[in-house]
Structure formats: structure tokens, C-alpha cells
């Protein structure tokens, strides 16, 4: 990832952060637009979770990673604390690999 890409993402991100305080009191975001932003972010997150859990390159990823992510997903759905979710994902995947499952 080249420095220009990092800088571009940093500038865009700071721009999103700065626009709100600059427009303070002058605009209200339409509720429907705000929900569209929120849903777009959710769609991206879920799609990224699905692709990075299931695929590696153009092929399928191994079972160990998928199992780790599924366990993490169940924990997250049951509102387990964030650290538990992350450690469970790594732990389950590591244990399965230790047992010889890729």
C-alpha cells in the first residue's frame, strides 16, 4: 500500500470529520441520508467479513479460519465483550491448525 494511498485515505477521513464541525448549526443531515451512510457501512463490513472469512486470493480459505470467524460471530451476536470476540477468533483458528486442520 503506497504512501499516497494512505495519505488519500487520511485526507478523506479528516474531511469527513471536519465537515460536521464546520457546518455546525447550519445544516441537518436528512435522516434518510444518514441511514443510507450507516447501511452502506454495514453492507461493506459484512461483505468484507464474508470475503475475508471465506476466501483467500481467488480461491477458498481453509476451514480453520472460517470456524474461528463463525465462533467469533456467535459470540458477537451474544454481545460478548470485544476482546473476547477477537481472542476467540484467533484461538479457535490456532487450535484447529494445531490439530492439523488447515
Amino acid at each position: 500500500m503506497p504512501m499516497t494511498a494512505i495519505a488519500a485515505l487520511a485526507v478523506l477521513t479528516y474531511g469527513f470529520r471536519l465537515t460536521g464541525p464546520l457546518l455546525r448549526g447550519r445544516v441537518t443531515v436528512p435522516a434518510a441520508a444518514e441511514r443510507l451512510f450507516a447501511e452502506a457501512a454495514t453492507v461493506l463490513l459484512i461483505a468484507l467479513a464474508a470475503t475475508s472469512a471465506l476466501t483467500a486470493g481467488h480461491g477458498l480459505a481453509g476451514w480453520a479460519r472460517l470456524a474461528g470467524v463463525l465462533v467469533a460471530g456467535v459470540l458477537a451476536a451474544r454481545r460478548a465483550p470485544f476482546p473476547v470476540v477477537v481472542l476467540a477468533a484467533a484461538g479457535v483458528t490456532a487450535l484447529l491448525r494445531l490439530a492439523g486442520i488447515a
Binding site: M1, A5, I6, A7, L9, A10, L12, T13, F16, R17, T19, G20, P21, R24, G25, R26, T28, A31, A32, A33, E34, R35, L36, F37, A38, E39, A40, A41, T42, V43, L44, L45, I46, A47, L48, A49, T51, S52, A53, T55, G57, H58, A61, A64, R65, G68, V69, A72, G73, A76, F82, V85, V86, L87, A89, A90, G91, V92, T93, A94
Partner: protein, 299 residues
């Protein structure tokens, strides 16, 4: 800064500590997995300092590690960060100045800052205020905004925002550095299952937001699109194609178009020059709009 710690309650500091701990673990795994995936050490470090938004950093690195182009990585990260714009509106009165906590209590906040601006006219003081505002803007994150908006009045909102934002920035960057060191030291990182932490973090961030049927529908469709296209499209593009899942929310699009048609009328009734009060009312106002819009569809 010292007054900030005095105003922050012990309960708040404890909650901030827990959030910092959670983010530290994510930071370590982000740093380690980035380096383990073959990126140079400065990529996760620069992202953490300059972008400082965990989800988008992980998304951008995830796209690149999957072989995607830098452009796709930037786009994915930027889409995730659009939410910082409404956050900025919600905490506009809070990001400016951590030390005005004492005075601002009980006063209409918008008016207060106007008076202060006229009194402290010296260039040095103005510079300092400007710098603080720039720094405060950079500290707008899910966590700092959530802590701020939970507080009942402007003074406590401000102190909660800074009491969460500053430690979070420090701990996030230190933990990413730690992760980079770990990832470089350990030879076989796949044995530790680090590759499973990225998708796990994404899930943990997204699952609580899957509250409505339309969101679940859009996200499910998007995930199917992305996974199905992964074998055939260059990396990164399937993720952006997932946004096509938003096409399932017909109601949402209609509402958006409807809202836009009426926005001219609405902006005129907004309270002018009353930033603090507007921020106070906004959450309630927003709910009213959400409830009101479907009913107004026929108007």
C-alpha cells in the same frame, strides 16, 4: 487538560479503560496481521496515526492483502468513514476546547463560545484554540462520540469526549506498534490464527447495526454478491460491488428522494446561530424525522 480529568467521573474513566483495552487487542492484531501479510511496518503505523479509524484501516489493509488495488482500498476505507460526518455534526460543540468545561456549564453553549472568541483575541490564544480544534476533530471516533453523547450536559459531553479520545489515540497507536513488533518477531503467524481476527472484528462491528430487516437484507445480499464475484473479479472490486446490496432497500431510496424534495422548506425553519441547543435537540429531532417520514410519503 488537568481540569478534564477532574470533571471526568470514575465510572466514565473505568468505561474508557475497558474500551481502550478492547481497542488495544484489536490494534495489536491489526499491526501483527498487516506485517505478517507482507506489508512494510510503516503502513499500519502510518494508517493508525493519520487515519485513526480502526474499521477503515482494517478494511483498507484487508483489501490490499487480498491483492486489491490501492484505489479500491482507499474507496473501501473512505465509505466506512462517511459515518464520521454525521458524528462531527453531533459533537460539533464538543471538539473545540477541552478546557472550557468549567465555564460552559449551564450556559447556552453557542452563545458562550461567541463571547469567549471576542475576549481572547490575542493571536497566541487563538492559535492554541485552532490547534485544539484540529486535534479534537481528529479524535472523532465511534467510541469518543458514543461517550460524549451519553452525557447529559455540554460540559460533561466535552470532558467525556476528550477523556476518551486522547487515551484512545495514544493506546491505539502504541498497540499497533506493539503488534508490528510481534508480527515481525513471530515467523509463522498463521499458527496463531491472526488471519481470523480481521473478519472477526468486522463482524463484531457490524452485527449490532443489523437491527432492521432492510439492513439485514442489504448486508446479506451484499455479502453474497462479494463472495460470488471474488473468484472472477480483481481483488477489491467484489467488495465495492457488494454495495449493490443497497439496491434492496427500495423504501430507503424513496424516502431519501422524498426528503430531498422537501429539504429546502425544512432548512429555513432550522434554528439559526444556536449550535449548542441544536445539538441538544438533534437526537430527539432525528427520531421524529425517522418516524415522520414514512407518514409523510404521500404528501
Amino acid at each position: 487538560m488537568r481540569s478534564l480529568w477532574r470533571t471526568a467521573s470514575p465510572a466514565l474513566l473505568r468505561d474508557v479503560g475497558l474500551v481502550c483495552l478492547a481497542d488495544a487487542i484489536v490494534g495489536v492484531s491489526f499491526g501483527a496481521a498487516s506485517v505478517a501479510g507482507g506489508l512494510p511496518w510503516w503502513v499500519p503505523v502510518a494508517l493508525s496515526v493519520l487515519v485513526f479509524a480502526g474499521g477503515s484501516q482494517i478494511a483498507a489493509v484487508g483489501v490490499v492483502l487480498a491483492g486489491g488495488s490501492p484505489l479500491a482500498a482507499v474507496l473501501a476505507g473512505a465509505v466506512l468513514n462517511t459515518r464520521l460526518f454525521p458524528y462531527g455534526l453531533a459533537v460539533a460543540d464538543v471538539v473545540s476546547d477541552p478546557e472550557s468545561t468549567g465555564h460552559a456549564a449551564g450556559t447556552a453553549n453557542g452563545r458562550m463560545s461567541g463571547v469567549r472568541g471576542r475576549r481572547e483575541g490575542q493571536p497566541a490564544a487563538r492559535w492554541l484554540r485552532g490547534l485544539r480544534r484540529l486535534a479534537g476533530t481528529h479524535l472523532i471516533t465511534d467510541e469518543s462520540v458514543a461517550f460524549a453523547l451519553r452525557q447529559p450536559d455540554p460540559a460533561r459531553r466535552r470532558s467525556a469526549f476528550w477523556a476518551c479520545g486522547v487515551p484512545l489515540f495514544v493506546i491505539w497507536n502504541v498497540s499497533v506498534l506493539l503488534g508490528v513488533a510481534l508480527g515481525s518477531a513471530v515467523r509463522d503467524t498463521s499458527a496463531f490464527g491472526l488471519d481470523a481476527t480481521f473478519p472477526a472484528v468486522m463482524l463484531a462491528l457490524a452485527l449490532p447495526t443489523l437491527t432492521s430487516r432492510s439492513t439485514r437484507m442489504a448486508a446479506g445480499t451484499g455479502a453474497v454478491i462479494a463472495v460470488a464475484l471474488t473468484p472472477v473479479l480483481p481483488a477489491g472490486l467484489p467488495l465495492l460491488a457488494a454495495l449493490g446490496g443497497l439496491g434492496t432497500r427500495w423504501d430507503g431510496w424513496r424516502r431519501l428522494a422524498d426528503r430531498r424534495g422537501r429539504s429546502g422548506r425544512r432548512s429555513r425553519c432550522g434554528p439559526a446561530g444556536n449550535g449548542g441547543a441544536a445539538a441538544d435537540q438533534r437526537p430527539a429531532d432525528r427520531n421524529n424525522q425517522v418516524n415522520e417520514v414514512p407518514a409523510g410519503g404521500g404528501r
